[in-house]
């Protein structure tokens, strides 16, 4: 039963090998001379003395959260789409309920003005 996962294993090994080789090669072959002025933050040539960590407005956080919710929702569509034929009606109704709930949530957010930026 496990042999169906062998190609995945080979793929992972190749990826790890390649990435590992690239990283170690560039670490070994590339000269590295870190000194203070090189590690200072780059801001178009000026050494910034203004703190970069400023309190950002809440809108960014709100938009990020909304994105995550609806992005994760999209992830659930993939397995459903693959098995659409086999699941026949049961799958459709099940997904319909799932989408319906999130649609109501989206309508609520839209009405409350969570989507517009200003």
């Amino acid at each position: 039963m496990l042999d169906t996962y062998v190609p995945v294993l080979i793929f992972v090994l190749i990826v790890l090998g390649l990435v590992g080789a690239l990283v170690t090669l560039s670490f070994v072959l590339g000269p590295a001379k870190p000194y203070r002025r090189k590690l200072l933050p780059y801001e178009s040539g000026i050494i910034p003395d203004t703190p970069a960590m400023r309190r950002l407005s809440v809108r960014f956080y709100l938009t990020a959260m909304l994105f995550i919710i609806f992005d994760v929702e999209a992830v659930f569509f993939y397995p459903w789409a693959v098995l659409l034929r086999q699941l026949k009606w049961f799958g459709l109704i099940e997904m319909g309920v799932f989408i319906g709930i999130l649609l109501i949530a989206l309508a609520h957010i839209w009405r409350k003005g969570g989507l517009d930026w200003e």
Binding site: G30, P31, A32, K38, Y42, G45, I47
Partner: protein, 162 residues
């Protein structure tokens, strides 16, 4: 059974080289310049990057905006006293190995402006590898300088770690 003998027996489809040559070849043919256009030479540098005189044939068409991703700084234009510390900062923030091409008379020696406002030659603040005469030099001159630099990079091979 030296390497050459092995190559003989394998019917000549082997290429034997040293790691240094491979590293030099890789680095030489993918020198990414930092976008450091100052004055008139910058316009000729852009002209070099366009289709007419294509710098892409030498692997250098990716003008990186940030010094972190570039290994060649083409100082194209006159460096004023106010710009000198900034040029030095940008040079410092470029990762090793890095090279500098001083494009044009103003960058190399202050050019026709021998006065209080200009840095008389960029080699006063950064080590320069290739100088290009001309005011502004033709795009072909910039390519010629790039080829000279590529020969020099290929000859360097593996650089010491520290």
């Amino acid at each position: 059974m030296g390497i050459e003998a092995l190559a003989e027996s394998m019917g000549q489809n082997f290429l034997t080289t040293t790691l240094g040559k491979v590293v030099g070849w890789g680095r030489g043919n993918s020198v990414w310049p930092a976008q450091f256009g100052l004055a008139c030479c910058a316009i000729e540098m852009i002209a070099t990057a366009t289709a007419g005189v294509d710098i892409g044939r030498f692997g250098s068409e990716a003008f990186r905006a940030s010094p972190r991703q570039s290994d060649l700084m083409i100082v194209s234009g006159r460096v004023s006293q106010k710009m000198a510390p900034i040029l030095r900062t940008i040079y410092d923030q470029m990762p090793e190995p890095k090279w500098v091409i001083s494009m044009g008379a103003c960058a190399s020696t202050g050019g026709i402006f021998n006065n209080y406002a200009l840095l008389q030659g960029v080699d006063k603040i950064v080590p320069v590898d290739v100088y290009i005469p001309g005011c502004p030099p033709r795009p072909e001159d910039l390519l010629n300088a790039l080829m000279i630099l590529q020969e020099r990079i290929k000859a360097q091979g593996i650089l010491p770690r520290q």
